[in-house]
């Protein structure tokens, strides 16, 4: 591994990961939270979730109706996690 050159050293990989993360995080510092930047979507949910989904609970309306794909992905993640646990803790037949 040592002959493969300086570019494959772990130090270089760590520095590269930190640099790329900083570069990707740079636009996040320019965002402003709350009013008046991004209130359109949440105000839409608060106003229209009851009429559009029929649920009194806005959180349930968002989680299971507006963001249903997200919930499906979460359930799939849990399923795959259980698959991993079943694989690690399986009993080997001798």
């Amino acid at each position: 591994m040592k002959d493969t050159g300086a570019i494959f050293q772990p130090k270089f990989a760590v520095v590269l990961i930190v640099l790329v993360t900083i570069i990707f995080l740079l636009p996040a510092f320019g965002l402003t939270f709350g009013a008046p930047a991004a209130t359109m979507t949440d105000q839409y949910y608060i106003d229209n979730s009851q009429t559009e989904t029929g649920a009194n609970n806005v959180v349930a309306a968002v989680v299971f109706d507006f963001r249903g794909f997200d919930t499906l992905g979460e359930a799939t993640v849990l399923f795959i996690a259980v698959l991993g646990v079943a694989m690690i803790f399986r009993r080997l037949h001798k």
Binding site: Q50, T51, E52, T53, G54, A55, N56, N57, V59, A60, A61, V63, F64, D65, G68, F69, T71, L72, E74, A75, T76, L78, F79, A81, V82, V85, A86, F89, R90, R91
Partner: protein
């Protein structure tokens, strides 16, 4: 590895109420705080209590084997996907709320504005809540079962034998399988 009679009896008494409370959280997910994930975790807590109170081997013999929990988990995920796909068949799109305000299952029209809430509203949202609740309950229970299956444990008879042996030998530890 044994646990006392008081703890076992108290656990046996408390577990049905934990199950009922988890079912309440799942069923009222579209009205009150909570939902499928939280209620399923509460029900899995009851399973964890059973596993702590009893031996894994006894649980396997008297209650449910671990493959049933894998089946329950798969059934929950399949119910979720089938409900979502039924929206594609019946109405316009995947995950469409096709049961809302149709008068059928969970199909009552919701009263707009601030109201105490009707359990039979919100269309497929309670159905998806139940699906997620079944899936989380099965998943967490299966994880607990798998981790308990990795433990080496003795039966209650072996524990009793070990205790009497322990009293006779005064201090030598052993007998664990």
């Amino acid at each position: 590895m044994t646990i006392g009679l008081i703890v076992r009896t108290a656990g046996r008494l408390i577990v049905p109420f934990i199950f009922i409370f988890g079912f309440y959280i799942v069923a009222h997910g579209h009205l009150t705080p909570g939902g499928g994930f939280q209620g399923g975790a509460v029900i899995a807590t009851g399973v964890a209590l059973i596993l702590v109170c009893y031996y894994y081997r006894e649980c396997m013999e008297k209650f449910i084997p671990v493959t049933s929990f894998k089946l329950v988990e798969s059934a929950g995920l399949m119910l979720f996907i089938c409900t979502a796909l039924a929206g594609l068949v019946v109405a316009s799109g995947f995950l469409f709320n096709w049961l809302n305000a149709t008068g059928g299952l969970f199909g009552d029209a919701v009263v707009y504005g601030i109201n105490p809430g009707n359990l039979y509203t919100a269309g497929i949202i309670p159905v998806l809540n139940f699906a997620i609740g079944i899936e989380v309950f099965g998943a967490l229970s299966a994880v607990l079962m798998f981790m308990f299956a990795g433990l080496k444990e003795t039966t209650s008879e072996e524990d009793d034998a070990e205790t009497s042996l322990h009293h006779m030998n005064t201090g030598k530890k052993g007998g664990r399988k």
